[in-house]
Symmetry: C2
Subunit: 401 residues, 2 copies
């Protein structure tokens, strides 16, 4: 698919993350006014609340709300209608009727009220590497891993938007004479994509992979900050808890499933057939370069299509017990890692458990130090354009003892 | 503390679960009208929305809402004010000004909008017995168990009120030639008390055990339905997921911390000192008989004070990473089990993993069959009165293949 040209010149540059093909949704405010919904185009934000107030589109008043949950709840047909309408209004030749706010003047907010947050574990490289570090090579990949998307419920209340500082946590850490209460010494990131659920499902009723795909509104960058020393001491048998509750950063822009459609891609080869409830009719991943940097230096690049399970498969599995899903649920893909260290989505993996430091701007690092900034990035490359996700950054503040 | 007598005679009977000493909060409707907040007294419900509309008390209009979250958010001083006011209005000798609805005519709803749900693992008997069954006697009690309240994030969307039928889930279950997709064959209950968080905390700031206690609004009965065969296959390394997402039943009445105050009790003896952030200044458990029945036959009775960690300790630990808590968060105590089989809060434990069937009304059971009804109960006995929690029941529907 080629670039769809806009009358806004900044949207037509081949390196612009927000061409008309993208049109991601977010929530913004300017100079302290009320947060409302917007769409990114070029170096501007379309004020969707204003557009609706002026009768240019109809989203039932939901764009005036400070999160996108209300709009998402209107359903898939409305998502398509508004996308088509915005595309017409912004296309080359259209009359300029919309209020566009310079992105440089806007503050970006958490785009959704996160209803519940679930994190998965779907990169085989990552699962194997982490398994070796936590449990040794014999038990590295759990036996069910190639049969189901393993996931755990995370904490929604600590999901924050890009740019929010993250406090290094205190925690219980294994010591020589029992546990110590200490600042985390092995603070890590996890490079993920977050799928945003835009429709409810009914308790007691399962959702197929095809139905699940129709429930996904879009995707954000997601960094699941992790306290590895807290994790190692706490996580058996009930899984990670406080080690993952210190904060989860998501990007401010939700890239819609519609924008990613041209980049559909198969994932990793299957080791064994899946049970029918997880079978996909068509490729469910995307050809999407994704990576992260520390203090401005790119540390790793890989591709989302290394994953073994798609978000639709994860969502279908999530309902396998009859568990109801709700608008605003956030599903972390799991850490995205390719096979080599410069494709690692976490420092624990990249440094082999802290044994092989890496250099960052001439300084040695095993884990994240106070003041370090981690930034995620992702790009899908089309014909003469690219789809970007905007920033997903966080800087670490010192622990409060 | 003796019985506080009411002008409503049914509240003064020594076996009535809802004397004036109790005054639990819930949400009710009558003949399909709008759900609103109420308080149980004797065989009646005080219509709190009506009481507020008539100027008898002031809760900022929150009692007209269909859940107690708004009232809880008003804070601890308001909780005390309203309890004192209701106690005066209902005391022997007071003028009858309140609208009382017969409990037999009311439908009871989920009393809160569950923000997030966390389940703990705080009975040493239960943790040891389950550990033997899942991992063998050598690794039964995890090494951190006596140092921290182990918990995991559960699924809030599948929390339902007493009386809601529960569908037997389908799931992936370990088979001889890889996993099978089958109806759960080892469906179980978990006997728990749920603590309801009535105040927010701030991200990045920890809460002490004393502060945590002040944040707890009250307690409900809680049955964390569990698919043991699904759990055994899925739960390593990230913890239980779909095995616990089929449904969690809570009672309709929130018994306040104030009503339980006379029953404070120390818990199980400590094996080792706790780290200072978990130390309690005063006993944090309650002398509360708790048990469950199947199809009307009492199967087990134990006491909440067998637990090793209080809800306040669990809540303090929950914030140890800086994780923010919110009004409406629900914390499951963990399965409450005494040392003997007739004190077991789960069938897996009682039947030693399904090897020793139990008799229920002349029929043999290892796990729950379709049509079985499980009911939880709890009672704190005072001087001439008792504090009850109302029903917490669920009946199992057949799986949908």
């Amino acid at each position: 698919m080629p670039l769809v040209r806009s009358w806004l010149e900044s949207a037509n540059h081949p390196e612009c993350p927000f061409p008309l093909n993208n049109l991601p949704y977010g929530v913004f405010s300017v100079a302290g006014d009320a947060p409302r919904c917007g769409a990114a185009i070029g170096d501007r934000i379309v004020d969707l609340a204003d557009a609706e107030a002026r009768g240019l589109l109809d989203a039932g008043g939901t764009f005036a709300q400070p999160q996108l949950n209300g709009f998402m709840a209107l359903g898939r047909a409305k998502w398509a209608e508004i996308r088509a309408r915005l595309t017409r209004l912004l296309a080359e030749g259209a009359t300029d009727d919309l209020t566009l706010v310079p992105m440089s003047e806007a503050r970006l907010h958490l785009p959704i009220r996160v209803t519940e947050y679930t994190d998965f574990y779907a990169s085989r490289n990552h699962a194997f590497n982490m398994g070796v570090l936590f449990r040794g090579p014999e038990n590295a990949l759990p036996p069910q891993w190639t049969h189901m998307p393993i996931g755990y419920n995370g904490r929604a209340s600590s999901v924050v938007v890009s740019g929010t500082p993250i406090r290094r946590p205190m925690g219980q850490i294994r010591g020589e004479n029992g546990p110590e209460w200490a600042p985390c010494r092995r603070l890590d990131l996890e490079l993920e994509l977050g799928a945003i659920v835009g429709a409810d499902s009914v308790m007691g009723q399962r959702v197929s992979v095809e139905q699940a795909e129709d429930m996904i509104f879009g995707y954000v960058l997601l960094n699941d900050w992790s306290a590895r020393d807290v994790q190692a001491w706490e996580y058996q048998p009930l899984g990670p808890f406080q080690s993952k509750a210190l904060g989860t950063t998501i990007g401010p822009w939700i890239v819609t499933q519609a924008a990613l459609e041209p980049f559909r891609s198969a994932g990793a080869d299957r080791v064994n057939p899946l049970l029918p409830y997880l079978a996909e009719q068509r490729p469910g991943l995307y050809d999407l370069e994704i990576g992260w940097s520390m203090n401005g230096q790119v540390m790793a690049r890989t591709n989302y299509n290394v994953m073994y399970y798609s978000s639709a498969q994860q969502l279908a599995h999530h309902t396998s017990s009859g568990c109801p899903m709700r608008v605003g649920d956030l599903l972390g893909s799991g850490t995205i890692s390719g096979p080599s260290p410069d494709q690692s989505g976490a420092l624990l993996e990249m440094t082999e458990g802290g044994r092989k430091p890496v250099m960052v701007n001439g300084e040695s690092r095993t884990f994240i130090q106070d003041g370090d900034e981690i930034a995620l990035f992702a790009t899908a490359r089309g014909d003469g354009y690219r789809i970007g996700f905007g920033p997903c950054t966080g800087t670490i503040l010192p622990a409060r003892p």
